[in-house]
């Protein structure tokens, strides 16, 4: 049956009225819903439709019922478009579509349509701002719609489009306003320098409300392939807690954003996979959208919104989200910048504190302790270590926090560890997972719950000295670039060590100077070479912290004799050793230069004593290689400059030896002079005796013979002759007297005993003689002792006015003691004792001493001490060798 042709004008009027009513609604700014409902009703009335509906197209085949009249779906319901129905056709083509059938049972009719009994259906597109927004559809259970129905619908669709556009633009404005307000709120937080977590939570909340989601999460991508929730909001109050971590991987929005750096959406988790999907399912998410947070061009994290409702998010929601994430990125960048600034400030303050310690030349130990404390505090990591490398192990020197690597222990550098890694590469290192690592350190770290650790190398004057290590037991790895922050401190540590080492060096130089001075003093004082050898050994041992010895070279068989030893050497002075390969001294003997023997090359006998390093330097006396000074260390290698530093000591030894040899030469030559002079005097005396004295005797005899031939009457001649004989006798006596002063005959014949007796006998002052020495001694000694006594007695006779003299001769401890004491007036001075002065030279030349004590009124005491045997003139330092 044809409709409308009869009352077309009436229909037009109705239409206009209907349009006006709707337009009024639109103009009054009614929200879309009431407009849709009104339109549905008007259209239905106007077109005599049984059902009218306005649907909004969603993503895919989905649509939302926006307003219906007598339709079976309710407003707001979301459903899938039937692909055979007219509405789907509109969606697909963007053009009106119609469906007619005269026979409700015709097979072409889609099932739901037939089920409802619809005979005719029409749908027209609603285009808003050039985009297909949805459709309006009418259906009739009886007959078809007249052909111009599409046209009449169009007017309404235009109104609807306007209404929607209005509404949407109002919505857009509202939403924009809301967005702006939300952004402003977040921006305020950022400007207020609120801590990041507050900002993240605020953002999550705003986004959640704005996008009408159930859950919002702000997540950060970490260096270990995992993401951490750092801010969240949940409509129902129970969302994914901050700190939750998920591995990136599988099919889920978290991973898609991580891998593509672009927004992603997932409607439905049926075929989602991965840890993130598990979490989503656990919390009942049905669909989610995620947008990347890019900070300074880098993918920093992700903002994720999810809903538990069945309807997916509106189209373009992920892009809305993306716009919002920019703000977060700024906030994060700001916050990071603020954090950076704060951290920078903290770092500078910490560095400043440590630098002040270093500048004040605090001990390295103090600096180490300060550094680990500051690092621990700055990085927020309780456990730190400062390790020094010792060959193939590392020793912990300072540490903070409770962990199994406290100060004092050493660890092997084998296996996997930050300590080992830095030792190998001399660069910063990091470990983020101890699970599969081998080695003692890794095992210990695992059982102590270490999750990650970083280390920065400490380099002192170009060599790798050690490492600072910071350890975390949190699941999150230590933030990136923490190694750099650690590195700032290593320079200070290195400076402290270098300071201390140079301070040490200075102290060492001062010590050395003092030691050299002590030895120099001994040499200047003319101390015995053996004393100097001993002093040099002790000083060198103290300076180098090792054993030290002075050795003389022996040519046959080639070897050394110990002439000076520090206490740590348990070898007696005089021990001799033959040269063997591996002795540093053998090398010196061979090359005439300093030599060093370390480690495995040390002789077994040395190794048994624990010697790990030995150094020897040559002693050269007046151009000839005399011996060596040697050092032997049992704890560690002798420093590389040991040879150089020893040189000064060996020079002193050489000087001392040269001095002593010179002195002994000098003494020997003095002795020789004395002996020669004694010999000369004896010869003179002998010549006098054998020559002149005998001649006088013979003359006397001849005259007496002549006398005997005289006739008795020549008494005058006889008297003359007797006068001559007397004169000759006197002359002889004079000669005897002279002879006594030169060399008393009895001394050679009988020794000191009889000679002193003769002196005593002849003395004008009574002499009490006490002679207990009765062995013959070397001529110079006997002569010297005799003349001392003789001179003393002569002086006493001349000046002392004494009544008694005590003369004693004794032998004690290898010395001959001569003592002459008188009870006279004393006061003898050197003028009177000039004879004694001459004698004192002689006494000293023989290696003895003489002293005169003569106080006014207290008599005079002369004491002389002579060696019992003359020095044999052996070379210096010639202790008798003891074969070892």
């Amino acid at each position: 049956m044809e409709l409308a042709t009869v009352g077309q004008i009436g229909t037009l009027a109705d239409e206009q009225a209907a349009l006006r009513r709707v337009a009024t609604l639109v103009a009054r700014g009614a929200g879309p819903m009431p407009v849709f409902e009104a339109v549905a009703e008007e259209v239905s009335d106007l077109l005599k439709a049984d059902v009218a509906a306005i649907v909004r197209f969603e993503g895919g085949e989905a649509a939302t019922m926006m307003g219906t009249h007598r339709g079976r779906r309710s407003t707001g319901e979301r459903f899938e478009l039937d692909p055979d129905y007219v509405v789907a056709s509109v969606r697909a083509t963007g053009e009106a579509a119609r469906f007619d059938t005269d026979d409700p049972a015709a097979e072409e009719m889609p099932e739901p349509v037939r089920a409802e009994g619809i005979r005719s259906a029409l749908a027209s597109p609603i285009v808003v701002d050039g985009e297909l927004w949805g459709a309006i559809t009418v259906a009739s259970f009886e007959g078809s719609f007249p052909p111009e129905t599409e046209q009449r619908l169009t007017d309404f669709t235009e109104l609807l489009a306007a209404a929607v556009a209005n509404a949407e633009s109002r919505q857009a404005v509202t939403r924009l306003a809301e967005e702006q307000a939300a952004l402003r709120r977040v921006a305020t937080l950022v400007a207020r320098d609120a801590p990041s977590t507050e900002v993240f939570d605020a953002v999550a909340t705003e986004v959640g409300k704005l996008l009408d989601t159930d859950i919002t999460i702000v997540g950060r991508y970490d260096a270990d392939g995992m993401a951490t929730a750092i801010g969240n909001w949940s409509a129902a109050g129970e969302g994914v807690p901050v700190g939750t971590r998920s591995a990136i991987g599988g099919r889920n929005v978290l991973t898609i954003v991580a891998e593509t750096g672009k927004p992603a959406r997932m409607d439905g988790y049926d075929d989602a996979s991965g840890e993130a999907a598990e979490i989503a399912r656990r919390y009942g998410w049905r669909s989610s959208i995620a947008a990347p947070i890019l900070v300074e061009g880098r993918l920093w994290g992700v903002m994720l919104v999810a809903t538990q409702r069945p309807e997916p998010f509106f189209t373009g929601a992920e892009h809305k989200l993306a716009a919002f994430t920019d703000l977060i990125a700024t906030a994060i960048a700001n916050a990071q910048a603020h954090d950076e600034l704060r951290r920078f400030g903290d770092e500078q303050a910490a560095l400043g504190r440590v630098a002040r310690l270093v500048a004040a030349a605090a001990s390295p130990e103090r600096v180490f302790g300060a550094v680990v404390a500051e690092v621990s505090s700055l990085l927020g990591l309780e456990r730190t270590e400062l390790v020094r490398y010792d060959g193939d192990s590392g020793t912990v020197i300072a540490a903070t926090g409770d962990h199994p690597f406290p100060a004092g222990n050493s660890w092997s550098l084998e296996g996997a560890s930050v300590m080992a890694s830095v030792a190998r590469t001399s660069r910063a290192a990091r470990i983020d997972d101890y699970s599969n690592l081998e080695g003692e350190i890794a095992r210990t770290a695992r059982s102590a719950g270490f999750q990650s650790a970083i280390g920065a190398p400490i380099t002192v004057e170009g060599r790798l000295w050690g490492v600072i290590i910071a350890i975390s037991t949190d699941p999150e790895p230590i933030p990136e670039r923490s190694e750099e922050r650690l590195g700032q401190f290593t320079g200070l540590v290195a400076a402290a060590i270098a300071n201390a080492e140079s301070g040490d060096a200075l102290a060492r130089i001062a010590e050395e100077e003092a030691a050299l001075r002590r030895v120099a003093t001994l040499v200047a004082e003319g101390a015995d070479p053996s004393e100097i050898f001993s002093a040099v050994s002790d000083e060198a041992a103290r300076l180098f912290g090792s054993g030290a010895a002075v050795l003389r070279f022996e040519p046959e068989p080639p070897g050394v004799v110990f002439v000076g030893n520090s206490n740590s050497y348990d070898i007696p002075i005089g021990t001799s050793l033959e040269f063997e390969e591996g002795m540093a001294t053998a090398e010196v003997y061979r090359t005439g230069r300093a030599a060093r023997v370390d480690g495995a090359d040390v002789l077994p006998v040395g190794r048994n004593l624990g010697v790990v390093s030995s150094v020897a330097t040559p002693i050269v006396v007046e151009g000839r290689l005399w011996g060596a000074v040697s050092l032997a260390s049992t704890d560690e290698s002798l420093p590389l400059d040991a040879e150089e530093r020893l040189v000064k000591f060996t020079e002193f030894v050489a000087t001392a030896i040269a001095n002593a040899e010179g002195k002994s030469e000098l003494a020997a030559s003095r002795r020789r002079i004395v002996a020669a002079s004694d010999e000369a005097r004896r010869r003179i005396e002998r010549d006098l005796h054998d020559g002149t004295q005998q001649r006088l005797v013979s003359l006397g005899l001849a005259i007496r013979a002549a006398e005997a031939n005289l006739s008795p009457d020549r008494a005058d001649v006889r008297a003359q002759l007797e006068g001559v004989v007397d004169g000759l006798a006197d002359a002889l006596e004079d000669l005897q007297e002279i002879s006594r002063g030169i060399h008393p005959a009895i001394l050679s014949r009988g020794g000191l005993g009889p000679a002193l007796q003769t002196l005593a006998h002849r003395s004008t002052i009574p002499v009490d003689l006490d002679v207990t020495a009765d062995v013959r001694l070397a001529e110079p000694i006997e002569v010297c002792a005799y003349f001392i006594a003789s001179e003393a007695l002569a002086n006493a006779a001349k000046h002392s006015q004494a009544t008694r003299i005590d003369l004693s001769l004794a032998q004690r401890d290898g010395r001959l003691l001569v003592s002459i004491r008188d009870n006279g007036i004393g006061g003898a001075d050197s003028a009177h004792g000039s004879g004694l002065l001459g004698l004192s030279d002689r006494v000293e030349a023989l290696g003895g001493s003489i002293s005169v004590e003569s106080r006014q009124g207290k008599g005079t005491q002369i004491t002389a001490e002579l060696p019992v045997a003359l020095e044999s003139g052996q070379p210096v330092g010639q202790e008798p060798s003891v074969r070892s």
Binding site: H689, V697, R704, A705, R718, L732, G753, P754, H761
Partner: protein, 138 residues
Amino acid sequence: MTGSGVAEGRPIADPSWVPIRCLIVDDNPFFLEGATDLLKREGLEVVGVASTSADAIRLVRELRPDVTLVDVDLGDEDGFELARKLSDASAAHSKVILISAHAEDDLAQLIAASPAVGFVSKTRVSARAIREMLERAA
């Protein structure tokens, strides 16, 4: 040296006079000559002279003098040593007198320790001095 003026020794008219037989040991030939001459004049019989210990010992054994004058200095040899040897020898009847150009004082201790009967300075050598010393020692 004391000159005596009158040659002592052999009294002109006493047939029982027995001269003292004397050996002189000295390394100085002038002394030997001079002393021998003097003592002979003075009535001593100088039976021989010697300059070395070896000769002295031999001559003493052979000639058996009554007295041997021994110079303390016999070149390299020691007169005291010879005096001891001569005294040790079985010729106990032969006395030794030490002589020397040294003063007696200078040799006092050694002389005292010696088995010789005494010491006469060479300047005082005379028959009378020798005779007196021997009589004292007898």
